[in-house]
Symmetry: C2
Subunit: 409 residues, 2 copies
Amino acid sequence: MAQVSPLAPASFPQLQPIAGVRLAAFAAGVRYAGRTDLMVAELAPGTTIAGVFTQSTMPGQPVIWCRECLPTGTVRAVVVNSGNANVFTGRAGRAVVESTAATAAALFGCDTKQVYISSTGVIGEPPPADIISAALPKIVPQLKAESWDAAARAIMTTDTFPKGATATATIAGTTVRLNGFAKGSGMIAPNMATMLAYLFTDASLPAAVLQPLLAAANERSFNSITVDGDTSTSDTVLLCATQQAKHAAITSADDPQLADFRRALGEVMTDLAKQIARDGEGAEKFVTIEVKGAESEAAARAIGLAIGNSPLVKTALAAGDANWGRIVMAVGKCGEKADRDRLSIAVGGTQIAAEGGPVPGYDEGPVAAHMAGREISISVDIGLGNGRATVWTCDLTHGYVDINGSYRS
Amino acid sequence: MAQVSPLAPASFPQLQPIAGVRLAAFAAGVRYAGRTDLMVAELAPGTTIAGVFTQSTMPGQPVIWCRECLPTGTVRAVVVNSGNANVFTGRAGRAVVESTAATAAALFGCDTKQVYISSTGVIGEPPPADIISAALPKIVPQLKAESWDAAARAIMTTDTFPKGATATATIAGTTVRLNGFAKGSGMIAPNMATMLAYLFTDASLPAAVLQPLLAAANERSFNSITVDGDTSTSDTVLLCATQQAKHAAITSADDPQLADFRRALGEVMTDLAKQIARDGEGAEKFVTIEVKGAESEAAARAIGLAIGNSPLVKTALAAGDANWGRIVMAVGKCGEKADRDRLSIAVGGTQIAAEGGPVPGYDEGPVAAHMAGREISISVDIGLGNGRATVWTCDLTHGYVDINGSYRS
């Protein structure tokens, strides 16, 4: 096991139970030895669900399966294995998904299409259906309302720490809770979705309300991080609402009574997304890139991601080198509208460049001191419009090269 | 000075003189000590020129200058310094370009707009105008028809070897010669152009004929390589024709008598482009990615570049790991049309995956042996159409992280 990222939070957060949610983790032996690799979440009857998935043209079998399930709008179980993804596995991979869903559906007394599945790990080898189906009856007696930390650990691959987040919100005077956990460390450049993240709430919201809330929050959280610019084939974010909270019926995502829930959802998802960037493979520094003055929010995000994905920017960050010329390069290459004579760049709050050139006599001292730390902030003002976005990433270090030269073997 | 890339050609090629071209290199002291850093090419009166440049929205001052010069279609001198780029340097940067052009124009008795300029190196600090203008009168007495190797060395930055190529072609029964040299090692993901490359021929071709020939050859050469996905702000390719060869007048780029010249131009440019990929920062392996069966040539190139730019593919290549699942990921993320059930992948001629899954019982032995070598070939068949393209790249190693963490300091 790799050393825990130096950017990890001090501890896994306290996640209180959510009525209607029980979890378990199990060492099934899918691929890893001596650790858990199978996670099951059981949801109470009537639980609604929303999901966003990878936009890859090579999606994994579990992503295809979840997309087929989603129109029902309901969920009774989520089953996730680590060790093997289930991508580019053809009919054999489909059979694994179907047998897993059938076994879980029998155990929980539900329809197979109420069983959502994810698999994460090596591409090209189907997970072992027999091992997973044999493990499921052993997990069910272990389901508990408190097993959030264990669940978050079971879905890890190259992650060095489990990722959880929680918030409460008020809907029509009733307090609801929102818990989430996620995994992700490499192959992180989410496109309309991200690595695996599972969100649970006791809110009483129909699937048709959950889906637009999730999609909107996703843009500013998981779709705003990058580790290496490589989009996974298994990216999945699910939001399950157990309907256990007793608040007034909500029938539209635009209902003003959802304002606080929308805030809480955004907070939990952004918290998890930032933890993924903090656990980027080999990461030594956590980087926040704020872009303003772009033509639109989408343009600002594209510029931020171009900076956050640039190997030249990321290696300079690893070295603590305020090589802001590479930020200019990244803004220039990304194709979004920009004007050399209006571009400004600040690092750690110190203005370095403005109006098409370096700020005369700028003091590199405080910038170098900031760059030597664990948390780097970069601010870019395009100077053209009102579009703004924040992107989170990490540096590119020798650790990334080591991890990804040895991951499969 | 870094060690020479293990992928370098055995030696700089023999470049014969081209009538109407004289070259010189000079140690002006722009930034480096103990090496040449200024290159001048003198062209005979009447020489025509074509150029392609970076599509970055943050182009350097020399790129802006060259674009202004190009409509005249003629050239008398090319002046290139290494050490400092001239990017994001505002009015000070423009003044450097203008004074360099004025000094050279006085020396060569030509119009300032017949002096083409490039600068390569660190972004954000203008090259020293006084040092360059003082050096130019000292270079002129040193101009020689034979100084190709010296010229190619003077424009290097992190390059570990000089890059040259040559070919002859027949136009209307007359043999013409084509010589070129280039630099580039990092910030290599050309977009409609590339790093610096200078091509010279004695062919008697007007600028209006040269330009479409250059643009077409550029797509399949410099626009088909990548080192790190980062597009430079200074990419420049110039093609100068001295009109010294005595062949029948050619007035159209579509003239069938240009077929052999088109072939030679493609060969020289592809040769130089591949040398740049072979000198990719930290490169240990040279990788050829052939894509066929895509919807179009442009789609095939985009897919090849997505594979060639993927940090996960490139770190696996560095480790000699045939992790073909990452190739599937890269095809999937790039957005071009693809069908999981038709995708086939071969490495070193061994078929690994076909029709949406691994080839049953495929022998990893010969693939591992191939991956252990210096030259890796990857073939991808999308299975949809007739579009094909070849892309060249290198692996991502600890050397890249080292070089780019220390380049500026």
